[in-house]
Structure formats: structure tokens, C-alpha cells
Symmetry: C2
Subunit: 212 residues, 2 copies
């Protein structure tokens, strides 16, 4: 079960809420970019960034000098991951909607100091964005590690919202001669584009060529 | 030119910044979902929501009771729109990246009271999510309008960041027998799915069937 603190208890559209942790994991484990919300000089700042999950912890990373990471360390943050699945076309403008899956996580971010946890955080981050690369590309050097800040955020306080299916129209609108339904949004991988500087004879690895 | 206040002047990766307003418009006018950052009880909250642009103003909307909109009204907010275009696979984990286009807008949100501006805000919002529907589906009724809050945010203070192209690796890594390049992420429309409650004889309109 997800927590039900005041801010993760949904005020509106309760039927779109989920308290199933598997839904939370599914939303996080199929996304690639989150939006990190922090407070800088008293004002909100929302930054797109990669993330990874290990068990009940979300990991973020960035340059040690990045404003957003410095603002997050030790402070309350909000991390949101959103998948847009389709546009819901209703008979009225008012009932137009989107099909989506989103997760919102609240908590105090913590700068990770322990070497092993930092490596694990970077591994899950890397594997979320580019599965298979951690064991294929060159691992971070000591110097590269020193330039990288890794932040941890507990998944304890999280909420999931989803919508799927067709439009819900007003009773009287069903008579209108207006098409209604869903226009699905499909995300897929294109053909891998080799770096022009790649020497001949290095084939595209299967984990890139056949990424799901 | 985009403004260059302290928070929109990029600290890192300056070469990824753009000060061209056309880039800002392009990022906004090709997205469908933004992430709205507000402060609620002293803590950041990041909510995915639709938006629309009319000239130099961004419009957001929601239920009059929504926590995020009430927190935004009259206060400093941050709105971020992000397109993920591909995964940049480098020879080292450290130099992995993503190709993306993102816009970040800061400003004080204003609840729109004027009827005509509210309608214009709702129109551009609707047309961003579902182009062609404003003139096709039933327009909002007085009751529906009363239940809808429309927020305006000036585009005055905005920044755009983009990355495209292949990986940039460390000099010594180019010798490694590691494939490098870009795996593009492609977003497209699926086949329209008609509402099962649709009467026979209502064809899918061209603006839905052939949406770009």
C-alpha cells in the first residue's frame, strides 16, 4: 500500500488514484525522465532529469555544482513521473481528457555519501535510461565519481494517478453528431544512429538494437 | 530574445541554452503536457497538466477546487515542458546523455477573471491537446465555465535548453571497442479508438484521423 498522508490523499478524481505499490513501481520502471521540484530562493523550480529505482529508494544525480541538486539536498522535494498514453476526445470540450499514468513522490532528499550506495544509485540510473550499458560501457572513474552528486529519495510518501479508457460525456451529449473516442499516443524506438567516429567492425549490441 | 535573469541564465552546459524566442515557442507549441511547480505548505509540489499558449501568455486550467491551482494563483510558479528525443549512448557511462528540448518558465500566475480571456485561454489549451476540437465539439456551458479555473503566466522569464547529436566522449575512450551513438525516441499517433457508445454513421473527422 502507498502511504496516505494529507498530500498524497487525492482530493479530486479519487477513482483515478491507486494505492497499489506495484502501480507505483510500474510507472517509475517504465519512465526515463522525472520532473524534480525544489525551492530556490523561496520560489519553485522544476527540472527534468533522469532517475533510477532500487527497491524503496529513488536515485537522482547531477553535477556537484547543479543548483537544483544543491537545493534538493536535505530539503523537501517533489518528484513527478508522467506517461501520456492518449488524448480522450469527448463530445464536449469540457469532458476532453488525457489517458495517463503518473507518480508523485514527496520526501526529504539525501545526498548519498557511501561509495557502494553511490555506485548502486548510478547503476540503476544508468540502467533505467540505457539498459545493458552498465556492463557494456566504461564504468565511472574516480575523477568522474567525484564530479557527480547522487541524491536518494525514499518512496515512502507517494501517490499514483492513472486514467485509461474512453470519454465520459454528459447524458444529453450522447445524442450529438460528434465523434468521440481515444487517440492513442505511441512511443517507440527508432533505428540506432551510430556515432560517425565509430571505427568499422563494431556492431550495434543486441541490448541497443532490440531495446523494448 | 529570452530574458536573462539570474535563474534563467544557465549555470552549466551553456552550449545547450538558447535565447531565441522561436525555440521557446517551438518547444511549447509541440508539447501537450507541462509540469507545474508550486509551493504548498512550504513544500514543492509538481503536477502534470495541460497548457496552451496565446502570444506571450501561457494558460493552465483545472477544477476551481484543485490544490495546485489555488497554490499557484498570485504566487510564483515554475512551468516546465520537456521533450525527450533520444538516448545518447557513449563509450563511458559518465558521458551518457539524452537528446531533449525543454522550456522552463518562471513567473507569478494570475487567475483570469475576464470572460473573453478565459475563453481564449481554454481555446488555446483545447487546441494544444486536441487541435480542431474547439470548433467541432460542444463548447463549454456557463455551468462548466463556472467550475473551471483558468490561470495565466507570462512568458517573459523563460529559458530553453536543448541537446541533439551524438555522444561526446573522452579522448582516450574513442579507442574502446564500444558501440556509441543515439537511440532515437519516436512519438506517434496510434489508430483512433471510437467510443463504443458512438452511434453508427459518425465518421472519424480528418483532424483526428490525420493529426500530425
Amino acid at each position: 500500500m502507498l502511504s496516505t498522508t494529507a498530500r498524497t490523499t487525492l482530493g479530486r478524481s479519487k477513482e483515478r488514484g491507486s494505492t497499489d505499490r506495484n502501480d507505483l513501481y510500474e510507472v517509475l520502471d517504465t519512465g526515463m525522465i522525472c520532473h524534480l521540484g525544489v525551492i530556490v530562493n523561496g520560489h519553485p523550480m522544476v527540472i527534468p532529469t533522469g532517475y533510477g529505482r532500487a527497491g524503496e529508494t529513488l536515485y537522482l544525480h547531477g553535477s556537484t555544482g547543479a543548483t537544483s541538486l544543491r537545493a534538493a539536498d536535505g530539503n523537501e522535494v517533489c518528484v513527478t513521473v508522467t506517461h501520456l498514453d492518449g488524448i480522450v476526445l469527448a463530445r464536449s470540450i469540457f469532458n476532453h481528457s488525457v489517458n495517463y499514468r503518473s507518480a508523485i513522490i514527496y520526501g526529504r532528499a539525501r545526498l548519498v555519501a557511501d561509495h557502494d550506495e553511490r555506485m548502486e544509485g548510478l547503476r540503476v540510473l544508468s540502467e533505467r535510461l540505457a539498459p545493458g550499458q552498465w556492463d557494456y560501457a566504461r564504468r565511472p572513474s574516480r575523477k568522474e565519481l567525484a564530479a557527480t552528486a547522487v541524491l536518494a529519495l525514499s518512496l515512502e510518501e507517494a501517490s499514483v494517478k492513472m486514467r485509461s479508457g474512453g470519454p465520459k460525456d454528459e447524458e444529453e451529449d450522447y445524442e450529438l453528431p460528434v465523434w468521440a473516442g481515444v487517440l492513442p499516443l505511441v512511443t517507440s524506438w527508432g533505428e540506432p544512429e551510430p556515432d560517425p567516429l565509430l571505427p568499422e567492425g563494431i556492431a550495434t549490441p543486441v541490448h541497443i538494437l532490440h531495446r523494448e
